[in-house]
Structures are given as C-alpha cells and as structure tokens.
Symmetry: C2
Subunit: 190 residues, 2 copies
C-alpha cells in the first residue's frame, strides 16, 4: 500500500523526522460514498491525500446535468486549484466515488509547512505544475482526438478510471453521451 510518507519521499528528500512532522499536520477524514470533499459555492481551503478510495470532480451544467471533469485515486492529491489559489468559490463538487479515506491539510497549515521546510515548497510547485500539465494535456486531447481515440487514450493511460468509475460519468468526462460510449466499447470488443 502506498502511503503519504512514500509519496512525499518520492517528491523530495526529507529526513524521517521531517516527514513524520509533516504528516502529523494532516488529519484523517473518512467519506462515505457520495460524501463531499468540496461543495459547489464554497472556497477550496484544503488539500487532501487519497489513502484509499476515489473521488470525482463534478461540474453542474446550466441545464442541470453533471459533468465529470477529473478523478482522483489512491496516492494522489486532491484540490480544486482554481478555487484554492484564488480563494474564489468553486463551481464544482468533489465527491467520493466509494468509501474513501483522506488525509487532509488546510491551506494555512500547508503554508506554515512551506515556511518551516523550504523543501516543502518544491512539493507545492510540483503539484501546481502537475495541475497545469494535466489541464493542458486534457485540452489537447479534446482538441486533437475523436471520441474513440479519447477512450483509447484513457484506456491506456488511466485504466483505473475505466475499472472503477461508472460509465455515465466516464461518458461526460469524454464529452459524449453514454450511448456513444456504449457503441465505442462494442466496436472495440468485436
């Protein structure tokens, strides 16, 4: 099982004492299925590490239907950067896709850690860069691939999504209707 400790050590070189101190500032939070980590209209003031389970970033369209814009699984960090950085209300919900264990740290405590351990800032920067890359990549995929290609891309690079996320969420994530996703899946298994 991958732990927060492992993840932090992979991102920067901390001593054992340092990591333990850093980890002690994260609080365990348990979400039931459909429990919320972030609620539409609120400012995202926390970052979470996913110990177990998975989450879905869900946007509600003007017409009222839900669109999945991202997912998070074990070993990943969760935050809505657009809200976290600018301290403006989020336009999405982040909900648990299944019973989920998180380790949560507030923005305040995180910035406190930045000051205590300058190496910690590197982690913040890496998360920001990673977020930027992910968005950019996501956009490129939409701009350059057709629906089947996007599905194959997810299949290759994020198979966890296909294994653990309901298909009607995967469909909105790919920007298509569930029926189209079904057709694509059928055409691939024959």
């Amino acid at each position: 099982m991958e732990t927060l400790k492992d993840t932090l050590l992979q991102l920067s070189s901390f001593s054992d004492q340092e990591v333990e101190d850093i980890i002690s500032h994260f609080k365990p939070v348990t979400l039931k299925k459909k429990g919320r980590f972030l609620t539409n209209g609120r400012v995202c003031r926390q970052i979470a590490y996913v110990e177990k389970g998975s989450l879905i970033y869900l946007q509600t369209s003007p017409e009222g239907d839900h669109i999945a814009i991202d997912f998070a699984f074990e070993g990943e960090f969760v935050a809505y950067l657009q809200s976290f950085l600018t301290e403006t209300p989020a336009d999405i919900d982040i909900i648990a896709n299944e019973p989920t264990h998180l380790l949560v740290i507030s923005k305040e405590r995180l910035y406190h850690l930045y000051e205590k351990y300058s190496k910690m800032e590197r982690i913040g920067r890496l998360l920001l860069e990673e977020g930027l890359m992910k968005m950019a990549k996501g956009r490129t995929i939409f701009q350059t691939m057709d629906n089947r290609e996007r599905y194959l891309y997810v299949m290759k690079h994020s198979s966890k999504i296909l294994e653990r996320i309901p298909q009607y969420h995967i469909a909105t994530y790919l920007g298509i209707k569930p029926e189209s996703l079904s057709r694509i899946r059928r055409s691939l298994t024959q």
Copy 2:
C-alpha cells in the same frame, strides 16, 4: 495604446521609478509574419509582452498538420508555461501571425526582479493562475459545448480571434475542419 507600463500598474502597485526600472529589463524584439518566438524542441526561457501584433501557439500533430492551441494579442504576455516552468523542450511553436513587436525578458532576469521587488512575484503568480484558469476553461468548453456553441463562445469572449486569425487556424483551435467552420458561419448569417 496599451503599454507594458499600464499593464504592470494594473496588476500591482509600483512607483514610477520601480516600473521604469522593471521595464528597462525588457528588450524590444520585432518579428516578421511567421517569425518565431519559440521553436519546437527548444526550452522556453523567455516571457514576452505583446506591444503590437499577434501570435499563434502551434502544435504539430503526429500526422504533420498544425493545430492552434492558443493566441496572444496586444497587451498580453506570451510564454509556454509547460516548458518555461519545467525547463523541458517545448512541443509547440509560437509564431507571429503578422508583423509583431514584443518586449522580452529572460527567466533569469525575471527571477532577479522577483528578488528585487517582492511585489513583482505577485505578477508571476497571477500569470500562473491565469494560465491555469485559461487551460481549465478551455478544457471545459471542449467538454461541454458542441462546435457551434464553441464558435459562439469565441465570438463573444475573444472576438479578436475571429477578426485577425485565419479561419483554418480557428478551425483547428475549435477542434473541427475548416469546412465545418464554414457551415457553422453560414448557418449563423442566415
């Protein structure tokens, strides 16, 4: 005419002396039409302010055709953040869409300014946040709108693009074929 000075003053509160000093670190660069600010394979080590003209961020697909992923006009900053931040080779070109005047600063000098004027860091952070927002918004637009809606969105929010960028570039920017763009345009004028 909007100047770099105006733009900096809008983003943060500098004294006249400070702005003049900051501006003095930018070097004027003139690009002919199709001239390059960034070349595929090189690391983006500069940020430019567009005084006059416009630029296109162009990606080359595996099949060899060009896809416009972004544009920049007067009063905006230009850089390929993915390369600039991580110092990895860019996978795009940034070329002038017309004769263009830039004010260019190197990453080195910019970071030097960050140390000299802490207020300057705010500008760096704002540019980063802006970049992140832009990517996220761009992705959402692809995920939730059909081709006509995306065209109308650009029409409403970035009409400069429609006025000054060739349509075959706008088409790739919208993720469609030039023929489809033509049909959408016709259906709107009738």
